[in-house]
Symmetry: C2
Subunit: 305 residues, 2 copies
Amino acid sequence: MVQVTLLGSGATRPLPHRALAALWLQVGGRGLLFDCGEGTQVSAQRFGASLYKLDTLLLTHYHGDHLFGLPGLLQSMAALGRTEPVTVAGPPGLDGVLDAVLTLAGPLPFALCRHTFGDCRGSLALPSGAVVTAFPARHRVPCCSYLYTLPRAGRFDPDKAKALGIPVALWRSLQAGQPAGGFTPDQVLGPARRGLRLLYATDTEPTAELAELARGADLLCMDATYADDADAPKARLYGHATCAEAGALAAEAGVRRLWLTHYSAAVTDPEAGLAAARRQFPAAEAGFDGKTLTLTFDDSRKDTP
Amino acid sequence: MVQVTLLGSGATRPLPHRALAALWLQVGGRGLLFDCGEGTQVSAQRFGASLYKLDTLLLTHYHGDHLFGLPGLLQSMAALGRTEPVTVAGPPGLDGVLDAVLTLAGPLPFALCRHTFGDCRGSLALPSGAVVTAFPARHRVPCCSYLYTLPRAGRFDPDKAKALGIPVALWRSLQAGQPAGGFTPDQVLGPARRGLRLLYATDTEPTAELAELARGADLLCMDATYADDADAPKARLYGHATCAEAGALAAEAGVRRLWLTHYSAAVTDPEAGLAAARRQFPAAEAGFDGKTLTLTFDDSRKDTP
């Protein structure tokens, strides 16, 4: 299962009760952060996201509202005694950004592993066993959207294991997908089951690829910068989406849940565009700092693996 | 008069209700900021410090808890349409820091004027008419403490002005210290009166020079990182002060008011060290985010000009 917490739901400028872009995912003791706007470390404290657990930070792009919390986050992790490496990944330009961040934050007592998604494309296997796939957002600078997938092995068949004479001591490894004692998992596991799929797509306009990759996803956390449909031309100009457009994309993709996020600083009520989104996708939800959800494997769903 | 607002009273790591180092001073429409820890721009919104008015930022040093709010502050000022220049001053190392900040914040629509206090010493005249004097703090890196002085002209003597035949239309200029119509202010003004004096001294240990410059000051806003007297050795090690030491210095200098600030993240109650400070200086006050005070000229005081 995946614990999802929206740490910051704002764009451009933080407001007293709205931090800038950041989404936290936790699987067991492993933490993943999408974006790191100013105030992320305070939101993490406020909403119970333990920075001790952070092993991977995925930056969508390098606009300040997605990035300026990073020097402080790194320095606080250092102050808290961290020694394990942290992977930071993002679109091209990462090296220049991290060099400047480290000029400000100074030497750290842990390694920063860098991974650049060339052309905003690529995949990264995470320590939690999940996989993140980057694909291009449509924004005014190079920007990645991310598909997060937590796979789920097939069902273990004890009858097959007994028939093959596999000692019970080896079952746990095979169940976890590890070969053991000369046996392989595929001998005792059914077909891979549907895992969990989440998309983090901000800053971006709606795109066909986003709709395609979001098909049947458990959660789409999407750019909804503008509440008012009339701001669609502005959304085109700056590479964002309106709440209604986020809803339309969620409906087209048939996602289970949609969280609206990345509200313009002019949108002071997070529900300002909710009605517009719900006209397109009735299950749309307004994001807010601290909004949280536990995604669990769902055996009733037989659709996308 | 000077409006003083403590925007951030924390050290090292921000807490949910305590931002990092920042002190705001406002004189008329002119704003001055000492330090700019992460969260400063949110505190400014929360406590009514208008960033439109900021013309000068004085950094004590370049540790993250005094600096990491700067990229976001600059970008927000840009987003709010600022075009007037901003002066940023600090100890040696300023250029490297600002270059990194601008790498992250990108081009700005206003000029950043840089001023480095070589050897942590020097003076800067501010647009408000105040003067800031930098002097060395005792910290583990080069660090400035700052004496802020708002001067006050002598009393205008209308009898002298009449005797000299100065037209009434010129009185206002002379009163404001400007020569007019061939007359000079000293012809009609009494001796300079006591102005306002404030010291911002963090991060620092107590020093003799600080005590000397703080003599009779209206407000000393001072490093009080540790609440417990027993932490004095730690304060020596890291270049800070305990609350009791801040109190002792305030007593020695005979300041009017002492604000304790820059609390260690381990000090969750801002009043934890207040009793210790008050044993040294009974008027000591615990700083907290949003603490504010209006300093006014005081004709009853005849001491330091």
